[in-house]
């Protein structure tokens, strides 16, 4: 297959995907690090490379409201944010998915205030995880481009019609260059048909989107959205297969496994830090340790079945949370909670240990991953898992 490889950051890769997806309306408001996507898109529109309405929001709540209306009028819409910008728009997320508008929001993670720390941390995006949106993390600029295209395709599928958060770690992915194979317009057009919704705003055939309704209609409305989310598993798998056919890059929709053959203990995590974990696993393999890495690619919908089946192969799983969830069970993070829930009532007992790491944009260093693997090895050997979670670097 012909390739067109260029070196670029996660932000520029996402902008290229948005251009190839031929979006109609973009709404921006600056906050780093995601703003690198918008500056590149603004340049594309100014240079005539992309024919789209580029609207400046008066804030993130305004941004999401603009793309909400745009998507309701039948436009393919794109927006994005980071950190407190993501949480400022919180009100608008549920209406967008409830009204089944498949617009896309890129999130390049940033720590929530205080303090005014602009480092990467998954907390911002994870705050919005249960709003009926698709959500997953890219671990490289190439995957950032691919996620954007795949998510539009999945979200706009008539069986789905749901919005998408295409997430990438701030800086670690958004601002570090990687080789990106940019597909041709013909490939993208073959993969991503024009956006058509169930209903559009049209003065000739007026509809009320999001009307007031009586409380007895509430349960059914929520159940419809639940069914749409639950129905996505099949669509994810179909679209990933089709993506491989068109673009030649094959991803498992749910989990990426690295050196997991006959592994006893694995690190389970999502996002760019997986690359560091893989380096460490590779080195430990050379030393004869039975270790590996499992990277979660899709957080919502959560692949309960696949996580259970895959993690059942191992003795111990170390779950790395790059977010704060103060007061959560076991004192760790939401990823550990989800993994434990997926493994509950499983025939085979799998020990899980939580690690909260890389907060505030700190690197999760090689050294820290060595220490985590050490803990896992010890749990595997002794069968004792007394301290269920560790905050790095203070507790390990």
């Amino acid at each position: 297959m012909k390739t067109n490889i260029k070196r670029m950051s996660g932000c520029v890769a996402t902008a290229n995907a948005v251009k190839l997806a031929n979006v109609d309306v973009i709404c921006s408001y600056p906050i780093r690090p995601y703003t690198g996507i918008m500056s590149e898109l603004a340049r594309m529109v100014a240079d005539g490379e992309l024919d789209a309405e580029f609207v400046l929001g008066e804030g993130e709540h305004g941004q999401l409201s603009v793309v909400y209306g745009a998507s309701a009028s039948g436009a393919r819409a794109f927006t994005g944010s980071s950190g407190v910008g993501v949480t400022y728009a919180m009100e608008v997320y549920s209406p967008i998915s409830g009204e089944r508008l498949p617009l896309q929001m890129a999130i390049a993670d940033r720590t929530l205030d205080p303090p005014g720390d602009f480092g990467s941390e998954h907390t911002d995006a994870l705050c919005c995880r249960d709003q009926g949106w698709i959500q997953g993390w890219a671990s490289s600029p190439q995957e950032a481009l691919d996620l954007t295209l795949m998510y539009y395709r999945i979200g706009e599928d008539p069986r789905v019609l749901l919005p998408q958060y295409a997430c990438q770690d701030g800086y670690f992915v958004s601002h570090i260059l990687g080789d990106v194979d940019i597909p041709s317009q013909e490939q993208v057009d073959a993969f991503l048909p024009p956006y058509k919704n169930h209903h559009v705003l049209d003065t000739k055939d007026p509809v009320i989107i999001g009307p007031q309704m009586e409380p007895e209609m509430g349960p059914g409305t929520q159940y419809q959205r639940h069914l749409a989310v639950e129905g996505m598993y099949k669509v994810f798998e179909e679209v990933h297969e089709e993506f491989a056919d068109v673009f030649g890059r094959k991803y498992d929709p749910w989990l990426e496994e690295y050196m997991t053959d006959d592994a006893e203990s694995v690190i389970f995590l999502q996002g760019g830090h997986a690359e560091t974990a893989k380096n460490v696993a590779k080195h430990l393999r050379n030393l004869g340790e039975k270790v590996g890495v499992v990277r979660l690619r899709t957080f919502r919908p959560f692949p309960t079945k696949q996580v259970r089946e895959t993690l059942s192969k191992f003795k111990v799983v170390g779950v790395v949370d790059n977010s704060v969830n103060f007061g959560i069970s076991c004192g760790a993070g939401v990823l550990l909670t989800e993994v434990r829930a997926a493994l509950y009532n499983n025939d085979k007992k799998v020990e899980t240990v939580g690690f909260v790491a890389g907060l505030g944009g700190a690197m999760i260093t090689h050294d820290e991953f060595y220490k985590m693997f050490d803990v896992l090895k010890n749990v595997a050997k002794t069968g004792k898992n007394e301290k269920q979670s560790y905050w790095l670097p203070f507790e390990l």
Partner: protein, 97 residues
């Protein structure tokens, strides 16, 4: 009130727009104060008609303006924006019906 089966809920709750009035959501009984027009003062500038968030102001060529009390929630925006001071809000309890 019986819960409506989910199959009977329109997709995403979206419904055809009523051209005039939505019988499924009558809001006039939320009102605690009723707008009353002093037709001597009213200059028919239509400012209230422009500003009413619920399209409850009826314009008539030969009669004074009046309000659709089936939907008027009594928010008072009309009285606030009226340049002639022709609209006052009167407590609902002052009315017989």
């Amino acid at each position: 009130m019986a819960v409506v089966p989910y199959e009977r809920i329109p997709f995403a709750g979206t419904v055809p727009s009523p051209q005039k009035e939505n019988e499924g959501m009558i809001t006039g009984n939320w009102r605690t104060r009723r707008p009353i027009v002093d037709s001597e003062k009213c200059v028919k500038c239509q400012t209230c008609w422009i500003n009413c968030p619920d399209a409850c102001v009826n314009l008539n060529d030969d009669k004074p303006i009046n309000f659709n009390l089936k939907y008027c929630k009594g928010c008072g925006i009309c009285a606030e924006v009226c340049p002639a001071g022709a609209i006052t809000l009167v407590p609902e309890l002052d009315f017989e019906e």
